[in-house]
């Protein structure tokens, strides 16, 4: 296989010839841009990269990339991608879906891909709404969301995608936001490096049906006050002026947000991405009382599924001789 001539160099090389058809101002554009940049940095030949998606606005993603792409059916991308990976573990497989795709109809496949630790880069574009079907509330919509199906405001407790992933046994759990164009690539690169299922929730603004669902988080200028960028081994500091921090309250087993002015730095919690308990607490931090945790919340090594099954390149192909011995 001569892959040299297909080797891409720039982000633009990862663009397909299809016209991008999200609504003007949709957060998906920003994610697409980041993904193309990250792919260019990773620099794997386009032919070895596959994007598998379900159905939804997010799920159109594969059409806009020059890699292999499979736009499947609603909710089943993780299952299809599992088959892709088991068939050819050498491929670089990305799974794209919205909150409906991953957390509603596809919840079961998300769970099982995570617990099996299939080597997939799973990007959940969470816009807290069903975009493509015109704005119904989704399992991540906050209580009170008014939508065509919840005209008086939804009453269902939303699922916290990262808490769910941790409960499901995910070994790599991270969060980013569409507009954070310098932060998001770092998260995606880490996800890509992780061997096994990498679960990344990307907070994505649906400008038409749920504009501002994440408040200041993906407002670039305000974002630092509404989020905390976690870094392994670093104290938990946030705020535009880096003037706030998180302290761990041992008794209540929860974080407390503090002003650095009042708190000595050594009292601040230090991020340990290998600690699942802390990750569970971080995943559940919510606005307005807390900054929303971004970055790699949890990462831990575990055998990747295809590999654990022995489906490696070294696997002896089955042939007529082998068949003969069976019959």
């Amino acid at each position: 296989m001569n892959l040299m001539d297909t080797k891409p160099v720039t982000a633009a090389d990862y663009a397909s010839d299809q016209e991008v058809r999200w609504c003007p101002g949709c957060g998906d554009y920003a994610i697409l841009k980041v993904v193309k940049n990250v792919l260019a940095e990773i620099a794997r030949p386009r032919d070895e990269v596959v994007f598998v998606s379900g159905i939804g606005c997010a799920a159109r993603f594969p059409y806009y990339l020059s890699t292999y792409g499979f736009h499947t059916i609603h909710g089943r991308a993780a299952a299809v991608a599992t088959g892709v990976k088991l068939a050819n573990p050498g491929l670089d497989v990305w799974v794209i879906g919205g909150d409906g795709d991953f957390m509603s109809i596809g919840g079961n496949h998300t769970l099982h891909a995570l617990r099996r630790n299939v080597d997939l880069n799973m990007l959940l574009f969470n816009n807290a709404i069903y975009g493509l079907t015109k704005g119904q509330s989704s399992p991540t919509s906050p209580i009170g969301t008014r939508s065509p199906t919840t005209p008086n405001g939804s009453v269902e407790q939303p699922v916290n995608a990262l808490a769910f992933a941790l409960g499901a046994g995910a070994k790599f759990v991270a969060r980013g936001a569409d507009t954070l164009q310098t932060h998001l690539p770092t998260v995606l690169k880490r996800a890509h490096e992780n061997k096994g299922a990498s679960f990344v929730e990307i907070l994505q603004n649906c400008i038409v049906y749920a504009d501002g669902a994440f408040g200041a988080i993906n407002d670039r200028s305000e974002s630092h006050n509404a989020t905390i960028r976690l870094e392994h081994g670093q104290p938990m500091i946030f705020g535009k002026e880096e003037d706030k921090g998180l302290v761990w309250n041992e008794k209540a087993q929860e974080f407390r947000a503090v002003a650095l002015a009042d708190t000595p730095e050594q009292q601040l919690a230090v991020h340990d991405e290998t600690n699942i308990q802390r990750a569970f607490a971080l995943a559940r931090l919510e606005q307005p009382d807390f900054p929303v945790a971004l970055g790699v919340l949890y990462a831990s090594d575990a055998p990747e599924y295809a590999h654990a099954r022995g489906f490696t390149a070294k696997r002896k192909p089955f042939d007529r001789e082998a068949l003969k011995s069976l019959l």
Binding site: V50, G69, I73, G83, N88
Partner: protein, 616 residues
């Protein structure tokens, strides 16, 4: 001295049916399997069918804990496990009363009387002892306290009572071997091998086997004549005993070897399809297996595998195929090769999970939204389960389409003798060459087959995008153009139609050109229908039999063939689903002989029904 009546079927070829029945803990299936092996060694033809209890492990001695095994064997072709047993061996009251219905009038009934005490009768829920109350009058009863005899035979081994009693199935097997003049050697050898690490158990079982055999010699009954088949063409090769499930698993392995591609077999456990997954998992890597979280995932993972260049196979039973409906639509419109196996069971809904039925045919052909034609095949015999997989795979890769294969609970569990094919001589599964001369379009079609190219990710230079939205012919880009949709719909249908042109034309299974009646069957009923028609024809009737292995697209020549006969009738384990299809396709006034009891056809019932059709 009791004389055994001649129990050979009217059709001429001598064939005998033996049935073992006992508690699920009694080793019935094992004894039956050994008997089948000795039948194979005798070069006889045979067919077996296990009758497992529905419960996992019922309390000992209860009605719902009864396990049975039936075998029919003969010198000539044996096509079914037999309607009724010539010999029934029953190990306890529950086994006797639930299995008596399967014994021929006047048949030989061997009963282990050791459990016919008050306790045993109570467990079976009966008050009067059938051995005493005259209710078995129609049969030739042989009462033996098999447990006692077994214990006596093993007394020198110093085993505990419980352990020694366990050998009773071999004692009974020895007796049955004597009845049919069988050799003990190969079972002895097998026991030695099986219990190589526990020679005492091996020896004890052998002693029981011999004791049972010796008992036969001292009994005042005439032994059956043994039935040996003609020597096999290749005497070097021993016949194997193969169930449909096992043959299908081997067929799936053959797909990998003959296509030179990995197979990813994706399934979620369900009776009666699970045995396939079990068999494949045991093959250790010949085929990659994946136990998915549910049937939808199993279908989708298989689709993913096919997309990635392996041959994706997914299997389930009716409820599971129902769940895969949407995913099959994706495979169909993405035009990926895939095999979906449905081991049918009696429905609707959960129905009767362990019982066979052929009532998923319409779902297989019509059960998808949109215009969604795909090929449907059905194997006719346990051995055919091997071949059908290879054929299905060839169709799938050649036409780039999902293919449904309809087996059923009977076919999966029934076993017969099988001489494996010569692997070297098997034709390969040909994957069309992908040759684009720089002009690659994911939905360009082969002129002959109308198949699109199969270009898995990883193929250099050909990265492209596909999906379930309607695609522009050629480019594969999303298209809502009305004319394009009409054209793609037509192309998808014609692609499937053209498969028939490349496949064999219909050929009668029992040719009888001036027949008064044509009976058409499909799937697992082949043996029973063939047997029934052969017997009727020997009795002077004129009936032709056609068995369809290819249910969609219907095979070439079928319409013309049907037109040749004054009356055509289907015989199906459903309410006439194939008949409805043929009526619609050919406007021929086809009725159906249908049975929906969760049981395979009995040859005698079929004969009666066919005769009734002839009289009309």
């Amino acid at each position: 001295m009791t004389t055994i009546i001649d129990t050979r079927p009217a059709s001429g070829a001598p064939a005998t049916v033996v049935r073992f029945a006992g508690d699920s803990g009694d080793g019935i299936q094992l004894a039956g399997h050994e008997f089948a092996k000795s039948t194979a060694d005798a070069q006889a033809d045979f067919m077996t069918f296990p009758d497992y209890p529905a419960e996992i492990r019922a309390p000992q001695g209860t009605l719902f804990g009864v396990s049975a095994f039936q075998i029919q064997f003969g010198a000539d072709d044996v096509l079914t496990p037999g309607d009724e047993a010539d010999v029934l061996v029953a190990f306890n009251p529950a086994a006797l009363i639930t299995n008596l219905q399967h014994l021929k009038q006047g048949g030989l009934l061997v009963v282990d009387e050791s459990h016919f005490d008050a306790r045993g009768l109570k467990k079976a829920g009966i008050e009067s002892n059938p051995l005493e109350d005259g209710s078995l009058g129609a049969h030739q009863l042989i009462r033996i306290d098999i447990v006692k005899r077994t214990l006596e035979a093993l007394v020198s081994f110093g085993l505990g009572r419980k352990q020694a009693t366990r050998a009773k199935n071999f004692w009974a097997l020895g007796l049955v071997y004597w009845l049919f003049g069988r050799e003990l050697k190969s079972t002895e050898a097998w026991l030695e091998q099986k219990f190589a690490k526990d020679p005492l158990t091996a020896k004890a079982n052998i002693a029981a086997l011999r004791a049972g055999h010796a008992h036969g010699e001292t009994m005042e009954i005439a032994a059956f004549a043994d039935i040996a088949g003609p020597a096999r063409p290749n005497t070097a090769q021993k016949a194997k005993i193969i169930s449909g499930a096992h043959a299908m698993a081997l067929g799936i392995a053959a797909v990998a070897a003959l296509a030179e591609r990995d197979v990813l077999y994706c399934s979620y456990p369900i009776t009666p399809a699970s045995s396939l997954l079990h068999a494949l998992a045991r093959l250790e890597g010949g085929v990659k297996t994946f136990q998915a979280e549910d049937e939808i995932a199993s279908a989708c993972a298989a689709i993913g595998a096919s997309y990635a260049g392996s041959i994706g196979i997914t299997a389930s039973s009716g409820p599971g195929l129902a769940l895969k409906t949407e995913a099959l639509g994706l495979a169909l419109t993405a035009e990926l090769p895939l095999i979906a196996i449905d081991v049918q069971r009696a429905g609707p809904s959960t129905g009767m999970p362990t019982k066979p039925e052929q009532s998923d045919l319409q779902m297989a052909i019509f059960g998808r939204h949109g215009e969604s034609p795909l090929p449907v095949l059905a194997p006719s015999t346990p051995a055919d389960c091997f071949s059908i997989m290879v054929e299905a795979a060839q169709i799938a890769v050649e036409a780039m389409t999902p293919v449904i294969v309809l087996s059923d609970a009977y076919l999966a569990n029934a076993a017969s003798d099988w001489i494996p094919p010569d692997v070297g001589a098997l034709p390969g599964i040909v994957i069309p060459a992908q040759d684009f001369n720089g002009d690659f379009q994911p939905y360009a079609r082969d002129d002959a087959t109308l198949a699109r190219p199969w270009v898995p990710p990883g193929t250099p230079g050909l990265a492209h995008r596909i999906g379930g939205i309607e695609k522009e012919s050629g480019s594969g880009n999303i298209s809502y153009d009305p004319g394009n949709h009409a054209e793609m719909t037509r192309l998808r249908a014609e692609k499937i139609d053209r498969i028939a042109a490349r496949r064999p034309a219909v050929e009668l299974d029992i040719a009888c050109e001036d027949a008064d009646l044509l009976v058409i069957g499909w799937g697992s009923t082949w043996g029973a229908i063939t047997q029934a028609v052969a017997e009727l024809n020997e009795e002077g009737q004129k009936i032709a039999h056609l068995h369809l292995r290819q249910l969609w697209p219907l095979p070439r020549g079928l319409e013309e063939l049907i037109a040749k006969f004054p009356v055509t009738v289907t015989a199906e384990l459903n309410t006439g689903q194939l008949a409805a299809l043929l009526r619609s396709e050919y406007l021929a006034p086809i009725k159906s002989i249908s049975q929906v009891t969760g049981q395979p056809f009995r040859v005698s019932d079929l004969k009666r029904n066919l005769l009734a059709r002839l009289e009309n």
